[in-house]
Amino acid sequence: MTKKKAFKQEYLTKYMYLISLVLVMVVFSIFAPGFLSLYSLQNIMFEAAPLLILAGGLSFIIYTGGIDLGAGAMVSCTCVLTGIYIAKMGNIIVLLMILAGVVMGTLNGVITAKLKLPSFIVTLCTQNFWNYVALILCPNGSIIIPMNMRSIVKWTTVKIGVIPSTFLLAILVIFLLYVFQQYTFYGKSIFAVGANANATRLAGVNIDAAQISAFTISGVCSALAGALYAYKLKSAVPTIGTSLTLTAIASVALGGTSMAGGRGSVLRTSIGVLTITAVTSGLDMMGADPLWKNIIIGVILIGAVCLNSDSQGRDLIIK
């Protein structure tokens, strides 16, 4: 690969997320009047909050070169659990959901790491289980949180200054994830595993622990996102997660994270989330057919992955 090509590629990857955000903002401010209004921006933040957490956690699995195709199902599962049991338990349900996330994520991680199975198969398998729980508890569509419990969920609609509280929560989570990514040895190990698993292993790193920790974090984030959706929609929605996996993966890709693993950042993923949320919000404002949403996100994903592809830097056989 010539030096010029390599330079252009690195440049693209580094700044793609910013370029796309700016591009989206510009395009939609032209075609959708009121796009840059405070109300619209607040709406974007509101919509993006749970997705920020979801995609942020998912990033870690992708850093190891794996994927969680069942992330959306985890979200549905905890959304249902939260929606149904909040009436009995109050806000403590969120902590329980975090615990559930630990269990779900660690299960995925252990099967992947210890049995040495490809993560896409493992997560496709466990996805059935999370969906099963959601559908068993909620077989007839959404269940609304009863009115008398509404006061508990009120805090999520509150704004601190101009920013929705859930968005601030998401920012906090992203911050914590960033600290984990940059400043803990698990974080560094996770990147190393994605960059060259064999060399990392031979360097004496506990790669099983690194892999499992990535899945655990993602599980917690997915669970937390699910709980947040229950708060946001004030109901248990068993199908909430159906298209979320795609959106989350597309956000991570748009943020310049390589699907082959080894590099990326939750900060850039966050910008990817905001960009995609802006796109869907803008399309809504333009009155576009909502059925186009999945197609557009799918195309964004492919485009982002193509631009991101840096496999010339590694001697790999791509399968």
Partner: protein, 506 residues
């Protein structure tokens, strides 16, 4: 001997700043079996790669049957009538014998896209009959034993090259006898003679000198990338062969011998009757503090496997590794590191470097869990550590942030050395530490090795060349076919001759 088939003049090959082949001349005539011998790293494989189309030479020319010859791919070389049987199995296990032989050549057996296996089997039987083999060619290759597979590989290459150059082909065999029993070797030699009798030529690489003396007509000896001797096999003196293979070319200064430490009596690791089924048996030795213990042996002697067991990459079948008075069992390299053992792997690109990560990350990866304070790493501190290693090891780079895959081979290797030193492990397993490294960096690495032992670490070394092994080690253990055949003290001023060691190796 017949007409001149192939001639190479002044062949040289450089990898960046390192010269691996230098001014090689070779002549091969029809009907000849040429032997090619030399140590690991002497350049034999590189020359074969150039002839067989895997690599391109940096200097020199080749002529084949009077016309200039060059090949950019294995397939091109095949079309010219040159084929190589590689050491690694290149047959496809889930296909039949016939399908393997005619892989990508099915056209002449197919009508309207559908292949007639029956017709192909008929020809396949003829192809393997040339090597005296008679078996059902519709059997899957994975159901055959190694020796038969080896024969079929040769039959395949033979069939491919004889298609275009019957009676004038050149077959390259790289260590074909390592998986064969004595009877099978005899059969192979008989077949080789038949092939040569038809006018083809064979280049036979082997580290087993007795075999080379048995089957070849002429012998070329390589050492350090140059041709040191060429002689007819008849009347060749095995001692002269040894001498030409290994004679000392570098001085003690090169190996920084003045810094070689004398090991103390303290035993840091004791290996007792260690065995891996099928690789090595009954290996026992003590490793002392400050010692460099060299493991000498050819490929297949078991030294690589011993390395793998010591770093935790492979599980032993039986035996003990005693550290601090207790038998240790490592299930993986992580556990080995916790007990104080870390390795510098052989394949730098795939096993050593974490390519797209920075120098800093690469240096610190084996010590991260020891550097955390309340769970967090301090970016400034880790950067300072990396910078210090860059200075200490003389790593040429723009900064600690630079990606390791932008560095030259020698500098990348120094990074991995820095990693090993930073890890705090007292027992280091160095596997071909100067492979693919330029001469200047080699000396710096040798100096690092001396610093390691001076600081009280103990090293087990698999040297790139025998010379290096002797020069660096305080003691050498010789391995052959999985067993220890000798042990030599290597103190400064009392280094054993290479000949002594080579005799035990082969």
């Amino acid at each position: 001997m017949g007409e001149l088939l192939f001639e190479a003049k002044g062949i040289g090959k450089d990898y960046g700043a390192t010269t691996v082949l230098h001014d090689i001349d070779m002549k091969i005539s029809s009907g000849e079996i040429i032997g090619l011998i030399g140590e690991n790293g002497a350049g034999k494989s590189t020359l074969m790669k150039i002839i067989s189309g895997v690599e391109k030479q940096s200097f020199g020319t080749m002529t084949l049957r009077g016309k200039p010859y060059s090949a950019n791919t294995i397939l091109e070389a095949n079309h010219h009538g040159i084929g190589m049987v590689f050491q690694e199995q290149s047959l496809v296990g889930n296909l039949t014998v016939a399908q393997n032989i005619y892989l990508n050549r099915e056209k002449k057996y197919s009508t309207a896209g559908f292949v007639s296996w029956r017709k192909m089997n008929v020809d396949a039987k003829k192809a393997i009959a040339r090597l005296g083999l008679d078996l059902d060619t519709s059997k899957k290759v994975r159901d055959l034993d190694f020796a038969t597979r080896q024969m079929i590989e040769i039959a395949k290459v033979l069939d491919v090259v004889e298609e275009t150059a019957s009676g004038k082909a050149i077959i390259l065999l790289d260590e074909p006898t390592t998986v064969l029993s004595n009877e099978e070797i005899d059969k192979l030699f008989e077949n080789m003679r038949n092939v040569a009798a038809r006018g083809n030529a064979i280049i036979f690489i082997s580290h087993r000198l007795d075999e080379v003396l048995k089957i070849t007509d002429r012998i070329y000896v390589f050492k350090d990338g140059a041709e040191t001797a060429e002689m007819p096999t008849k009347g060749a003196d095995i001692n002269i062969l040894y001498e030409k293979m290994v004679g000392r070319s570098t001085t003690g200064e090169f190996y920084v011998e003045h810094k070689q430490t004398v090991p103390t009596d303290e035993v840091v690791m004791s290996v007792k009757d260690l065995s891996v089924f099928g690789s090595f048996n009954h290996i026992s030795f003590d490793l002392h503090k400050g010692e460099v213990l060299g493991l000498c042996g050819v490929e297949g002697s078991g030294k690589e496997s011993i390395c793998a067991v010591l770093v935790g990459d492979e599980a032993p079948t039986s035996g003990e590794i005693v550290i601090n008075g207790k038998n240790q069992n490592f299930a993986n390299p992580y556990q080995a590191r916790k007990k104080g053992i870390l390795g510098v792997p052989k394949e730098r690109r795939s096993e050593g470097m974490i390519g797209i990560l920075s120098l800093e990350d690469n240096i610190l990866i084996s010590h991260l869990d020891g550097l955390t304070k309340r769970g967090l790493l301090n970016g400034k501190k880790t950067r300072a550590i990396a910078d210090e290693w860059i200075k200490k090891a003389g790593i040429k780079c723009t900064s600690a942030e630079e990606r390791i895959n932008q560095l030259s081979g020698g500098n990348a290797q120094k990074v991995i050395f820095a990693r090993a030193l930073e890890s705090g492990c007292r027992i280091l397993i160095l596997n071909h530490p100067t492979r693919g490294v330029d001469v200047g960096s080699k000396e710096e690495i040798y100096s690092l090795v001396r610093d390691m032992t001076a600081a009280g670490n103990s090293i087990i070394l698999l040297g790139d060349t025998l010379d290096e092994c002797i020069g660096l080690s305080s003691r050498c253990i010789v391995l052959r076919d999985g067993l220890i055949t000798g042990s030599f003290e290597c103190q400064v001023g009392n280094k054993p001759s290479q000949k002594n060691i080579v005799e035990k190796m082969m």
